[in-house]
Amino acid sequence: MQSALSLLGLGSSCSVLLVLDGAEERKTAVIYSPTSHKRVDELPLFGETETVSGKVVISVREGKSLQHMGIRIEFIGAVEMLYDRESSQEFTSLVRELEDPGILTGTKQYPFAFTQVEKAYDTYNGVNVRLRYFLRVTVERPPYIPNIVKEYDMAVAHFQEEPQVNNTIRMEVGIEDSLHIEFEYKKSKLHLSDVVLGKVYFLQVRIKIKRMELEIKRRESAGTGVHAVNETDTLAKFEIMDGSPVRGESIPVRMFLSAYPSLTPTYKNINNKFSVKYFLNLVLVDEDDRRYFKQHEIFLWRAATNGN
């Protein structure tokens, strides 16, 4: 996965090119690295049941011919377990035969369409697990000659309805005789470009606090049973207070999630393979750099109006 959709995959003797219909107008989704949160790719974006159509262009080098055992295109949705290839699974797989076995010369185009194909899950690019949608073009070769296979990735995003119930998160925590706070987040369910609003109220402060931060943590759990792997990762660190407050101080919390594009919605047990959870972590750091934190799960969802 190194370049955009119109790039050709090179074979020894022929090139396979895939052109999606309406590629110019199509929205794209940026894919971020699960570890560095840097942008790694940009893929065409499809909705839940959107038809995936286009054409495959196969060019054989001039003066050459290619013998094949048939050409097909597949639409595949797969959960890839990166630590354990065996438990990877394709949950969707559709095939369209493009050409019967024969010999190819010159350039030939093959339109295709997967009409209203169901794409049940969002694309997800995690540390240990990856949920991919891709088109695979296979030019089957005679035995002993490796097939020519080209995969074309795409992204899928589901838009969700605004949750009916959206409780305020409110909590009072403390360490006896030294620190006691109460915090509150206005919403427990936030869309991806939402704003975390709330406040932290200090009921007792007997330690010297240096700063207070709000972190967004992502916990990715993949696999089941003994193979289960959990990965926790901090996506955002947002300082909300500098210095040490006194009793009675109320510190506002306002954090724009739009600043963190690598956020995804919360995923629960996707295809029985993996879950992604998000947490707001309130961290207090004292003068001696001891950290006191309290984390609380939030539910992220993708709102239709908000693009990606």
């Binding site: 409110r170 909590m171 009072e172 925590v173 403390g174 360490i175 006896e176 005789d177 030294s178 620190l179 006691h180 109460e182 509150e184 109220y201 009921l203 606090i209 700063r211 660190k237 947002f238 300082e239 909300i240 207070m241 500098d242 210095g243 040490s244 407050p245 006194v246 009793r247 009675g248 101080e249 109320s250 510190i251 506002p252 306002r254 724009f256 739009s258 600043a259 003068e287 001696d288 750099d289 001891r290 950290r291 006191y292 934190f293 309290k294 984390q295």
Partner: protein, 941 residues
């Protein structure tokens, strides 16, 4: 590594129950019950909202509801890096850090400007974040932080411009800008951005100004580091201030409205920010890592950031008295009172005093003073109330209208009403110095604002007395005892010494303040009668040590303008003497001291011994001088006492004499050192009065019985009494005054010359008994002769006795020269309009001639001859023909002979012959007829 690091903090960790965090869990809460929890928080809320009561509308911080289910768990981790104790950074390290930060800042500033030039929004934001990074520096000294702040602000101006420009060119909406800057991860940088973006936003959407300001202020509480927070809030205030004044220039109507908010809203925002800034400022006090002194010092350096809010409030163009007294002052006062921090209370109260117009203060004075009453002990009341009083003083002297306003507002009575409780609320922490200094400021204000209200000043002096008394209550008991035993006079002095020894050290500021308290009214009134109405004056005066009492008393006399007569009643006069008693009365010990000196002189050496050095003789014969450095000052001050005589109202001569008696009674108490200065003026005044009485009695139809208490004769007798008491201390002056008395008596046609003779007789007595110095003998005798020659009412026998005595004394003078000159003068005594005894006249001249001839010094002899010649010529010209031709010729020949013997080298000889020439020329040219015989005398030419 983690474990190793955590070891030293075991104690700490123990408390927290190691890693998992004992938490304020359910059990705890259940036990204490949620109701108590709610209660406690409500308390906190109440306190908070109370401190910001005026702001409750916008503060909007009370939406919190009580949490029901708390199962919170705290998690904690050990330190991830080395323990970094910022507060322990030494000064050198701070400077190093500062240098590095400043360097980094310079670099980033350049990059920011470049980014702005390139018009690259994202880049600008990144660079600006880096610039703002400088302000996130760990705790350093406020002064250094301030430098950084200024440098950063300088760069932020560019940013401000850039943001405004971006919005203007529709490159970004103001809202988007406002949101985007909030993505900045560091809170301090984010808030600076937010304030700038907010300002831009306000400029575009005036309707939203209120909301934006509210949002900004709410967000600002994210910075809880006192110093950083103060600077941040200072930045907010400054920005608001510049926005307000920016608009003000264009439209003078109402700056706040121009900005999209009402004045009241502007006030509320400023008050809010002020409250928060103040809290941060006070919190600096609780930084236990620093010494108290250092904390205080650092706090002082950032105080203006808090005060800026107050001054901005004061500059609001829409502010008026009503808003001030209904909203601004109550809120400020509330904040000041509730902050319980001495430095803050002191500084802020002073800020309030200095920032707002006097008219506002006048309207809210009572409230202000009530606030002062609530200030915690230790706050410098003197600075606050003193500052206010100083302002009022200036204000009242501005115009009559302003003074009227001060009066209308009942300013003084407000002070009067509240001051005692303010002073008592401060209790022991209020030093005497503070009280006195406050009172002095109030005195100065009252003098300016209420020029005629002596009562008010008296009240203030009374406060001073109270504070002095309460300051030395133990002493008072002792003093009460002693006053029981001794009589009035002594009680006064005991009281004085006790007070002065206990409370006031010599030259202490307290002492100076009391002196100023007493002298300020004097300087302002310039009227003794006004001052005399100050009933508390002498009581307060008695707290000073004697020297300072005298100083104050002297300034009472000195400050009476132009010696306008003002005292007509004996009571007033006595009161005045009571006020200046320390000046008039001899202090105990003083007499003994002088007596010792006098005795020492008279016992060791006999004053009449001829070979004594002059200085020693002087002591016993003339004024008694005490070897003191301040004798000049002493004399100057006594001269003021002497001048009291000129303050007496002279409408009625007989009552005036009554006043003189009182004056003398008091002056007598001064002892010899004083009377020699103070009695002569009284004597003269009496002589003058005697003349007046005499003239009044001589008026037709106004015959006064001569036996009257205040007849001229009585007054002269009074003078004689006075002078005899003066004789003991200053014989020469007494003698001179006796002669003046004689001259004065001579003006009155009394039935006999008894009085006249008495004056002369006493003068002679003094001459004979007290004058030992030959020079003084000579000059005094000459004065007697001159006086005797002037009077014309002596009976012939008496005149004969007195003039013969003069001749006798003249002949007995020490030197031949003195004898000669005195005899020449005596000659005049026998050639008067009423007595033309040519032979006795001539005899005197002859005796003078004989004395001159016995003078061994040639030069002196020649001069004396000329003197005799001149005297003879005068008498001869006035008809004394007994002075015959041969006498003249003889004198002239003697002169010529002596001058010839002396030759041309002697200047005295030349002078003598010049004088002779002038005399001869006069004879030849002016009176040739009278002297024709002489001029034709062969031997002369």
């Amino acid at each position: 590594m983690e474990k190793g690091l955590r070891k030293p903090e075991e104690e700490h960790t123990k408390k927290r129950n190691t890693n998992s965090i004992k938490l304020k869990g359910e059990t705890n809460l259940r036990r204490s019950g949620s109701s108590s929890n709610v209660h406690r928080r409500n308390d906190a809320l109440k306190r908070r909202s109370a401190s910001l009561s005026a702001l409750s509308k916008i503060a909007n911080n009370s939406e919190r509801s009580s949490p029901r289910n708390i199962n919170g768990n705290w998690n904690s981790e050990g330190p991830s890096e080395d323990k970094e104790n910022n507060s322990a950074i030494e000064h050198a390290e701070q400077q190093k850090l500062m240098r590095e930060t400043a360097q980094e800042l310079r670099k980033n500033s350049i990059l920011l400007r470049q980014a702005i030039e390139k018009d690259d929004f994202v880049q600008v934001l990144t660079r600006a974040t880096e610039v703002l990074q400088a302000l996130r520096i760990p705790t350093i000294h406020p002064r250094m932080y301030y430098e950084l702040y200024l440098a950063v602000c300088n760069e932020l101006r560019h940013l401000e411009w850039f943001f405004a420009d971006q919005v203007k060119r529709n490159k970004i909406t103001a809202l988007r800008l406002y949101e985007q800057v909030q993505e900045t991860p560091h809170v301090l940088s984010r808030l600076y951005f937010l304030i700038i973006a907010g300002a831009v936003y306000m400029g575009v959407e005036r309707k939203l100004t209120k909301n934006i300001l509210k949002d900004l202020l709410e967000m600002c509480s994210g910075v809880q580091n006192p110093m950083k927070g103060l600077f941040l809030r200072g930045y907010f205030t400054q920005l608001l201030r510049s926005k307000l004044s920016e608009n003000n220039q264009e439209e003078k109507e109402n700056d706040a409205q121009e900005l999209g908010i009402t004045t009241q809203e502007a006030i509320e925002f400023l008050l809010w920010n002020f409250g928060e800034a103040n809290r941060l400022w006070i919190r600096m006090q609780y930084d236990a890592s620093k010494e108290r002194f250092k904390r205080d010092q650092e706090r002082r350096q950032v105080e203006t950031l808090v005060g800026l809010n107050i001054s901005t409030l004061a500059r609001l163009s829409g502010l008026n008295v009503t808003l001030y007294s209904n909203i601004v002052f109550p809120a400020l006062s509330q904040q000041i009172c509730s902050c319980h921090d001495p430095m803050a209370q002191e500084y802020l109260a002073d800020c309030v005093v200095q920032a707002f117009p006097d008219e506002y203060h006048l309207q809210t004075l009572s409230e202000f003073l009530t606030m002062c009453m609530k200030l915690i002990p230790g706050v410098s009341i003197r600075q606050i109330i003193g500052g206010l009083a100083d302002r009022f003083a200036k204000f009242s002297s501005m115009s009559t209208e302003s003074r009227k306003l001060v009066e209308e507002c009942g300013t003084f009575s407000a002070f009067e009403r509240h001051l005692p409780s303010i002073l008592s609320s401060q209790g022991n922490s209020l030093s005497l110095l503070d009280v006195l200094s406050t009172l002095l400021s109030l005195t100065q204000f009252t003098l300016k604002a209420y020029p005629g209200q002596v009562d008010y000043i008296n009240v203030l002096l009374g406060f001073a007395i109270d504070s002095l008394r309460s300051g030395c209550s133990i002493t008072r008991k002792a003093q009460e005892k002693s006053s029981f035993l001794s009589d009035d006079m002594n009680a006064g002095s005991t009281q004085r010494s006790l007070h002065s020894s206990v409370t006031l050290e010599e030259g202490s500021p307290e002492e100076r303040l009391i002196v100023r308290l007493l002298t300020s009214p004097l300087e302002e009134y310039r009227s003794i009668t006004m001052t005399l109405k100050l009933g508390n004056f002498s009581t307060l005066l008695s707290f000073l040590r004697l020297e300072m009492q005298r100083f104050v008393a002297a300034s009472l006399l000195r400050n009476h303008a132009e010696y306008r007569p003002c005292i007509g009643a004996v009571e007033t006069l006595e009161k005045l003497f009571e006020f200046i008693r320390p000046l008039v009365e001899e202090s105990p010990g003083e007499t003994e001291f002088i007596q010792q000196q006098k005795n020492a002189n008279s016992s060791q050496v006999h004053p009449f011994h001829a070979h004594l050095p002059r200085e020693v003789v002087k002591v016993s014969t003339t004024k008694v001088r005490v070897a003191e450095d301040d004798s000049g000052y002493f004399e100057q001050v006594q001269a003021f006492v002497a001048r009291i005589i000129y303050l007496l109202d002279e409408t009625d001569s007989s009552s005036l004499f009554g006043l003189y008696r009182v004056v003398r009674r008091y002056l007598y108490r001064g002892g010899p050192r004083r009377t020699c200065i103070t009695l002569p003026p009284l004597t003269f005044a009496c002589l003058h009065l005697a003349h007046r009485r005499y003239k009044e009695s001589a008026l037709p139809g106004n015959q006064l019985p001569t036996e009257s208490e205040s007849s001229a004769e009585h007054i002269f007798e009074f003078v004689l009494e006075t002078l005899s008491s003066l004789s003991e201390t200053d014989a020469v002056t007494s003698l001179r005054l006796h002669l003046q008395g004689a001259l004065a008596v001579n003006q009155c046609a009394f039935r006999n010359d008894t009085l006249l003779y008495e004056f002369f007789a006493r003068a002679y007595l003094l001459y004979e008994q007290e004058i030992a110095d030959s020079r003084i003998q000579f000059s005094t005798l000459l004065l007697i002769i001159g006086t005797l020659r002037t009077v014309n009412r002596l009976e012939p026998d008496n005149y004969d006795t007195l003039s013969s005595k003069a001749v006798k004394h003249a002949a007995k003078l020490l030197t031949r020269a003195d004898q000669c000159l005195a005899l020449c003068a005596c000659a005049q005594l026998f050639w008067t309009p009423w007595l033309m005894d040519g032979s006795r006249t001539f005899t005197c001249l002859e005796r003078a001639f004989r004395s001159a001839k016995s003078c061994l010094a040639l030069g002196e002899r020649s001069l004396l001859f000329v003197d005799i010649l001149n005297a003879s010529m005068y008498l001869y010209e006035s008809g004394c023909i007994e002075i015959h031709l041969e006498f003249f010729v003889d004198i002239i020949h003697h002169i010529q002979e002596v001058t010839n013997r002396m030759g041309n080298e002697s200047s005295i000889g030349k002078a003598a012959s010049a004088r002779l020439t002038r005399a001869l020329n006069y004879m030849r040219k002016v009176e040739p007829e009278k002297y024709s015989n002489l001029l034709h005398h062969q031997r002369l030419i």
